[in-house]
């Protein structure tokens, strides 16, 4: 049996694969955060709550309305995205002219409301739903055996991330968005309705978080607090990557997931904190983040 640093290869590969699954969620969430921050200048603390709502929406749909996984995968981000649109229209909109810290505080409050409400409605214990027929079982990749669902999570997340990147960086819609980030007034003067773009961007960013929620539910348990524990890690990921960069958010999300998985093998006690330690080190040597420019 081959060993890596004295650890059996299957264990290392297994943890790395799990790390990559977690990294996919980090990537999806930090991508949404980066897009929202870019256009709105708001650090969306409620991102974890929307991720949690995405998982709950899918669970509700599947257990009460008997929709299947694939429908939930599309419906849940749409429903949660619509909720995001409502939040932006009714609350966030009023804060663009003042200190961006208020946006952070507002979304913190919203996250508390969402968590409290769901705890009151469904309790604190975990829920879950089954993996769809098509994605059950495991497959042999030649060097390791992996549950198909995990492979699906990784592939789906990476595809969604790079599609988002492509849309933002390589299409005319993306060019408009980026222009609106740089100078909303001038973009508006070209007859483009910037406030609508801003609203839809928030909805889309939040929808990405919900998508991550739907994907994650069969892997981890659905609880009202699943988002708040994740969002702090994602904040650290975003600080490490540098908030301005879309590609940076995706790459650092995946990378940190893998590093976390690897830490679980060599020093399990530190696996919860390794991302924060890396953040501190990165800040020390590159305050703008790995991919940020300042």
């Amino acid at each position: 049996m081959t060993d890596i640093f004295g650890f059996p290869l299957p264990v290392v590969l297994g943890q790395l694969m799990l790390g990559l699954v977690n990294g996919s969620f980090y990537a999806l969430l930090s991508l949404g955060l980066a897009v929202i921050f870019g256009l709105l200048g708001v650090v969306n603390f409620a991102h974890g709550a929307f991720y949690m709502l995405g998982a709950y929406a899918a669970w509700l749909g599947m257990s009460y309305f008997e929709i299947n996984y694939w429908v939930a995968l599309v419906m849940s981000p749409l429903v949660v995205g619509a909720l995001g649109v409502l939040v932006e229209r009714s609350a966030l909109r009023h804060l663009y002219q003042i200190d961006p810290l208020y946006g952070l505080l507002l979304t913190f409050g919203l996250a508390l409301i969402a968590e409290g409400l769901l705890r009151e409605m469904f309790g604190s214990s975990g829920q879950s739903y089954p993996v769809p027929e098509l994605l059950r079982g495991a497959t042999n990749l030649g060097f390791m055996i992996i549950p198909i669902y995990r492979l699906w999570v990784i592939v789906a997340s990476v595809l969604v991330c790079f599609t988002t990147w492509f849309v933002l960086e390589r299409t005319s819609l993306g060019a408009t968005l980026r222009a609106a980030t740089e100078n909303p007034k001038i973009v508006q003067s070209f007859g483009i309705n910037v406030p609508v773009i801003v609203t839809l961007t928030y909805g889309a960013g939040v929808g990405l978080a919900a998508l991550a929620g739907v994907l994650s539910a069969p892997v981890i348990q659905i609880t009202p607090l699943m988002g708040s524990s994740l969002v702090t890690v994602v904040f650290a990921v975003v600080v490490i990557g540098g908030m301005g960069s879309i590609l940076g958010a995706i790459v650092s999300g995946l990378m940190l997931g893998v590093i976390e998985g690897f830490t679980k093998v060599i020093y399990p006690e530190a696996s919860n904190i390794v991302v924060f330690v890396i953040m501190a080190i990165v800040l020390f040597f590159r305050p703008a983040g790995l991919f940020g420019k300042e």
Partner: protein, 321 residues
């Protein structure tokens, strides 16, 4: 505050005197002393937080780390190491100061939102360390922390003795912060808050000032935590939790950021709210706290004291015109 009229000054002095008299008389007024002491501890915590946010212009989302660490250190020293109360409190403050120095050195490299996110992430790190460290009692926390005595003279076990001890410290912290803000150091902080590039161009080493106020704030937050551990006889994971960092922000926001009395009033509002609601409505407390956050941010950003001062200001101007 040169624009302050003499009548306003007199009114403020009278207000604080009445308040202090009430606080001194409280044990005879049949108010539950542990409730008031909890309020005072969180009041110290909120004043410390306000020193950083209101006068230093930095929003820390990780202040629970200092509060909780000091609570753990003080609790552990008096319980397991049989330290005297005063030296354990000082050690708790020292640990918070050291942690504050570490946080500060890392976090002040960025400002604004990044600063908030970094402090939050570092506090989460502290949470996980406290969860696993050998001396914190893991999920159970430290229970049955004794209050001890003052220099072997006065026992702090009776609630009334402890009450006056905490009140004395609260008053000292309050006056100390007023003094800091009025000092030349406080004026430089104000300059940095209003216009950082200008302060730099005037030759001030801005980062050193920021670091100093951060460490000061962390130390005082630690004092609040150390006292809380003694008052309630326990230190637990809730003390280092993100929600506690959120609570202290809420207290300051509700009372009025950058006012002297605001954080105390805010601590009163939040502690009372939790005291009244927690056994009656369960998870709804979180929802209610969240709603207060949203309302404050959307339409009540000056806080209670801030709005009151603004009202007085408007009335004065109306009189002049």
């Amino acid at each position: 505050m040169s624009t302050m009229t003499s009548s306003f000054k007199t009114a403020t002095t009278v207000f604080y005197s009445v308040l202090l008299a009430l606080a001194i008389a409280a044990p005879w007024l049949n108010i539950y002393p542990v409730y008031l002491m909890t309020l005072y501890c969180f009041g110290i915590f909120a004043c410390a937080f306000n020193l950083l946010l209101g006068f230093g212009g930095m929003l820390s989302f990780g202040h629970a780390a200092f509060f909780g660490t000091a609570a753990y250190v003080t609790g552990w020293l008096v319980t397991d190491q049989a330290w005297s109360t005063l030296s354990a409190i000082l050690a708790g403050m020292f640990s918070a100061a050291a942690l504050g120095l570490l946080f500060g050195v890392i976090a002040i490299r960025r400002s604004g939102i990044y600063f908030a996110m970094i402090t939050m992430a570092l506090a989460q790190l502290v949470y996980f360390v406290m969860l696993q460290a050998p001396f914190t009692g893991g999920e159970n926390g430290l229970q049955g922390i004794p209050r001890g005595d003052l220099l072997g003279l006065i026992s702090l076990k009776p609630d009334n003795n402890m009450y006056y001890f905490v009140l004395l410290i609260l008053v000292a912290v309050f006056l100390g912060i007023k003094r800091i803000v009025a000092s030349p150091f406080g004026q430089v902080l104000k300059a940095i808050r209003e216009n950082e590039p200008r302060a730099i161009s005037l030759g001030y080493d801005v980062n050193r000032y920021k670091l100093l106020v951060f460490v000061l704030s962390a130390t005082l937050a630690g004092l609040g935590g150390a006292l809380k551990a003694l008052v309630l006889n326990f230190a637990a994971l809730t003390d280092v939790l993100q929600s506690t960092s959120g609570e202290v922000i809420l207290m300051t926001l509700v009372g009025g950021v950058g006012t002297f009395f605001g954080p105390l009033l805010g601590a009163g509002v939040v502690v009372t709210l939790q005291d009244v609601l927690s056994d009656r409505v369960g998870s709804w407390v979180t929802v209610i706290i969240g709603c207060i956050f949203v309302i404050c941010v959307l339409s009540f950003r000056k806080g209670i004291v801030g709005e009151w001062l603004a009202f007085l200001q408007r009335r004065r101007e109306a009189k002049k015109a």
